[in-house]
């Protein structure tokens, strides 16, 4: 799927949660949202993109959220 679009979507989710006062909750919220609403193929692609690129277009909060909750974002076997 279009990686730029996935990045754009993830960053938009990040913008919403960034305004929430509790940073840890915000990171959890970003990951939970992506986990709840993104099909596995979208999550896999996003994770692979992060793995393959040292510098990403993801905003820092989204990157932090994904890195912290990476296990939760892995599709179930």
């Amino acid at each position: 799927m279009d990686m730029n679009n996935l990045i754009h979507m993830a960053n938009k989710i990040g913008i919403f949660f960034e305004s929430q006062p509790d940073h840890d909750e915000a990171l959890k919220g970003i990951a939970a949202h992506i986990h709840s609403f993104w099909a596995p193929r979208m999550r896999i692609q996003l994770l692979e993109y992060i793995d393959q690129n040292e510098v990403t277009s993801l905003t820092p909060i989204v990157l932090s959220a994904i890195n912290r909750h990476r296990n939760d974002l892995q599709p179930h076997p």
């Binding site: 799927m1 989710i13 913008i15 305004s19 006062p21 609403f37 993104w38 099909a39 596995p40 193929r41």
Partner: protein, 946 residues
């Protein structure tokens, strides 16, 4: 037999005090305030009447309902005289009969005596009253001055006005005022010259009449008569069903002659509409038998091939084999389904079941994705349930009505009439909308505040309103303390009170003066029962879900939730948007809004369905398009939805469909999506099947089959057969069994059944052991989620920026006479009101660009360009242009972009940066579209009979 509820003559009164009186020797007890006429009627005594009908306030003009009251002089009219305790009334005496006969004699002396050839013959109150009063002669003769030669007004496509038959009872005028609230009719002339007149003695079509049919419904004679009745004659039986247009969900009595609809009459006992209707539901049903209906299944290998008519068996075998082939080649998750919110609950349930059980994945979505998915998300997060909180009737108790991003007079007209009635009674109105919509100023309606914000700034506006409420001490502290989460409230209060959210700070963003915003906030917070009504002008934004949560915050902060007259009310676009979401059409949720990762719920369905269900969410509609373009989504079962016309960035959508290997479209017409399809399965209209729709107030109502399906099968039967061929057997023989299954598996539906719907008429969910009769008002004692949760809703500007290259904002919407993609209404006489989409533009913007009213203009966005005719209007604010998307050749969605709501991917239809210029030719896209459509029509014409 016709199902016609009894007309009690005057409206029902509600009072805790009861009054007992004697009518014709019978003791009758009714609520105080009831008229003698109604009391008599409820007791089984029918007082003659002509100007009275129970949908209208009493008028007392016809003098037929005179009665005698013991101890009183004269003969008061029973419709205008309220009951009193101990009153003794006589309705039938020789004197009364004589008086009534005299009145009838006068009426008939100026009435054409053509009963045998009159279209109302057999259904005429005047004729009936002549019989009741025993009229046998007219002593005055018929030669005197009369109105018999008056010309008929046949300008309206759906009804005639025959002034020669008018008895000047005022029922039509009162219906236009009281029921519809348009005030298009009046009585012109005085004395003998008095006649009903549309506008200022204009033909109906040139007047302000909106063709709702209330006047026709109220007319006791053939003066205002449906043309279909004139053409076909009176119906011989009727079936009560639910309208398939907007989310109001009006009940109608389909009056039938055999399998032909004679007319659709709004059903008085319908709990959503209480006997009212709009031009679409009342009259625009002819599409159901339009010549464009396709009633034979068709297949083809490529979309450049001619269609081939085949048997149902061959079409379904082919569709199933293609889906299996694609899954074998591209994997289990390479196919999916889309079901329209126009389909019934049962059909939606079956499609999602087919996808989850037969396809074996969760790639199912509904067109609610592109309209109200943010409502589902936002209300679930804050209140705990993805649904509106009230009944429509609740508005009768509102003191303040806040309408944001909705245009009810056009998109939800029957509810708008109800709302306007309450405003005429004194409720205050706040309108937040970029356009000066009809509600802002119309006869006897004037908004106390119109906040004409710039498109895309709803969240900023909601933050500013919240700021005023928080900083001016207007919070409902007690409600918040007892009903809401402390922690989230405290955080929200701090956020709302920040200076950056003040109306003064937001003025530059919204374009609305701080003073107006402060006034509106104060009114909403302190004006009594305050209700918020919102529509797609809230949801179809990059911050659609944020705005929904902002609305819920306001309602909680002011304690306007959990009782009559208040609440958060999403006005759903299509008839079954609420239902399609309820029954699991979203890729991440099973019926009842339970996430697929919820093991307990999933196991419940796995046990019932005998299959394993994936625990991961499937693809949403926009994701399906992206996946098609990358080669991982290759097959689609699309029931009743026209994604090519209704989804944003048309060229992206058609590229995605063109990349797929098999598209199966099930529809009543060869819609725009079907032009990209490989299998066409003929659908059935709402008149041809049984099922249920759930309207915007969570009201589940029966859809009843009134004629056999034109293509043999109802839609649910087709899904069953497809599933069977895919190796997942379904054995339903009636939609009632499907509802029983939904009820067994869904906690909020456990009390719902067709038997109960028959008994109650309709049911508002939740309906279960805790609420066996349903739930009219939600969150009464506590929120569904326990404590209400405030959520911080910071305004973030959309990416769709206005620039020098694209200096205007395009926003899209609907109009009264057309519906959604227009597939239905374009195939009716409604085109007389709206035959093409136009671009509305402020005169200043037009002048700057040398654009004339009616001239062709090119609209160019970052996505594409199209050409429409310009309509100059000051209802637009400068800098904003507007169009509708009812005609495919308009290409409104060629212009809209793929920007979408951050939470749900609901498209940002309401904000597209554009430039416009006067041109002489249609756009390149439109020229390609014309060629493609002609080509597809030729391929359809080549379809050979089976």
């Amino acid at each position: 037999m016709l199902d016609t509820p009894k007309d009690h003559g005057t409206p029902r009164r509600i009072s805790e005090q009861e009054v007992t009186l004697e009518i014709d020797g019978m003791q009758i007890t009714v609520p105080a305030g009831t008229s003698i006429m109604r009391a008599a009627s409820e007791g089984g005594v029918n007082v003659p009447k002509l100007c009275a009908t129970d949908s209208l306030e009493p008028f007392g003009s016809c003098r037929l309902c005179l009665v005698e009251i013991e101890g009183r002089r004269g003969y008061p009219s029973s419709c205008t005289t309220p009951v009193e305790s101990g009153m003794k009334v006589r309705t039938q005496t020789p004197k009364l009969q004589s008086l009534r006969r005299g009145v009838m004699e006068l009426y008939i002396s100026d009435h054409p005596l053509d009963c045998l050839t009159c279209p109302a013959n057999g259904n005429c109150e005047l004729q009936t009253m002549a019989g009741v009063t025993g009229l046998r002669e007219v002593r005055y003769g018929y030669e005197g001055e009369n109105h018999l030669d008056l010309k008929k007004d046949e300008s309206n496509p759906y009804f005639t006005y025959d002034a020669s038959k008018c008895i000047v009872c005022n029922r039509c005028v009162r219906a236009c005022e009281e029921t519809q609230g348009t005030f298009a009719l009046t009585i012109s002339g005085r004395g003998f010259d008095s006649r009903v007149s549309a506008g200022t003695d204009q033909p109906f079509m040139e007047s302000d009449c909106v063709s709702c049919g209330a006047c026709v419904q109220a007319c006791p004679t053939a003066t205002l008569q449906e043309k279909s009745v004139i053409a076909i004659g009176q119906a011989e039986h009727s079936v009560v069903t639910t309208c398939a247009y907007c989310g109001v969900g009006c009940a109608f009595s389909a009056e039938m002659k055999g399998n032909d609809v004679v007319r659709m009459v709004p059903y008085k006992d319908g709990q959503a509409n209480e006997g009212h209707s709009c031009v679409k539901g009342r009259f625009a049903w002819g599409y159901a038998t339009h010549k464009d209906r396709i009633t034979k299944p068709m297949i083809r290998s490529r979309i450049t091939d001619p269609w081939r008519e085949v048997s149902w068996a061959e079409a379904l075998d082919y569709a199933a084999s293609e889906f299996k082939r694609i899954q074998l080649k591209h994997g289990r998750d390479s196919i999916g389904g889309i079901v329209s919110s126009r389909c019934t609950n049962e059909e939606g349930y079956l499609v999602q079941k087919l996808v989850r059980a037969a396809f074996g994945n969760n790639n199912v979505d509904t067109c609610a994705r592109v309209c109200h998915s943010p409502t589902g998300y936002g209300l679930k997060q804050t209140l705990g349930e993805s649904a509106g909180t009230q009944t429509f009737k609740s508005v009768e108790h509102s003191d303040v009505i806040l309408v944001i991003g909705a245009n009810p007079t056009d998109a939800h007209p029957v509810f708008a009439s109800r709302m306007k009635k309450r405003i005429r009674e004194g409720a205050k109105l706040i309108v937040i909308d970029p356009r000066k919509i009809e509600l802002v100023s119309s006869p006897h309606i004037k908004a106390a505040y119109h906040l004409p914000l710039k498109p895309g700034t709803n969240v900023a506006m909601l933050a500013a309103l919240a700021h005023v409420i928080v900083t001016e001490g207007l919070l409902a502290e007690e409600f918040i303390a007892s009903r809401c989460e402390d922690h989230s409230f405290n955080q929200w209060r701090e956020f709302a009170s920040q200076a950056e959210n003040s109306p003064e700070a937001m003025q530059a963003v919204t374009g609305v003066s701080a003073e107006l915003v402060r006034g509106a906030a104060r009114l909403y917070a302190t004006g009594g029962n305050a209700a918020i009504y919102y529509g797609l002008g809230v949801t179809e934004h990059a911050q659609g879900s944020t705005a929904v949560m902002g609305i819920a915050n306001l309602a909680m902060a002011t304690g306007n939730i959990g009782r009559e007259g208040v609440g958060v009310n999403p006005l759903r676009g299509q008839n079954n948007v609420q239902g399609s979401c309820d029954i699991g059409s979203f890729p991440h949720e099973l019926p009842g809004y339970r996430h697929v990762s919820d093991t307990t719920t999933r196991h419940l369905f796995e046990q019932a369905w005998g299959v394993e269900i994936q625990s991961e969410p499937g693809l949403r509609i926009p994701n399906m398009f992206d996946a098609a373009l990358d080669g991982s989504f290759m097959g689609l079962y699309c029931q009743g939805e026209d994604i090519v016309q209704s989804d944003p960035n048309t060229q992206h959508v058609t590229a995605a469909l063109s990349a797929m290997e098999c598209i199966v479209v099930q529809d009543i017409f060869l819609n725009e999506t079907a032009k990209y399809a490989h299998v066409f399965l003929p659908g059935s209209s709402f008149l041809e099947k049984d099922g249920t729709f759930t309207n915007a107030e969570r009201r589940i109502s029966r859809v009843r089959k009134v004629m056999p399906p034109m293509a043999v099968y109802a839609d649910w039967e087709v899904t069953v057969q497809l599933s069977n061929r895919l190796g997942y057997p379904m054995d339903y023989t009636h939609p009632g069994q499907i509802m029983d299954e939904i009820a067994r598996l869904t906690p909020s539906f456990t009390g719902v059944s067709y038997a109960k719907l028959e008994e109650m008429g309709s049911i508002q969910w939740p309906c279960n052991e805790a609420a066996p009769l349903g739930t009219p008002i939600m969150h009464v004692d506590q929120f569904v989620r326990g404590k209400g949760k405030f959520i911080i809703t910071r305004y973030v500007a959309t990416d769709e920026k206005v620039t020098k290259k694209y200096p205007l904002i395009l926003t899209t919407g609907r109009i009264l006479s057309q519906y959604n993609v227009g597939a239905q209404t374009r195939r009716t006489e409604n085109v007389q009101w709206h035959e093409a989409d136009v671009l509305e533009i402020h005169p200043h913007d037009a002048e700057d660009r040398g654009i004339q009213d009616g001239g062709q203009v090119l609209i160019r966005s970052r996505s594409g360009e199209t050409v429409l005719r310009a309509k100059l209007t000051e209802h637009m604010q400068a800098g904003v242009v507007y169009t509708t998307f009812h005609f495919p050749e308009s290409g409104a969605n060629v212009i809209t972009t793929e920007n979408s709501d951050w939470a749900t991917n609901c498209p940002e239809y309401k904000v597209t940066a554009v430039e416009i210029k006067a041109v002489a030719e249609t756009s390149g896209w439109q020229q390609n579209y014309s060629r493609f459509t002609l080509n597809q029509q030729a391929l359809l014409d080549q379809a050979k009979p089976v």
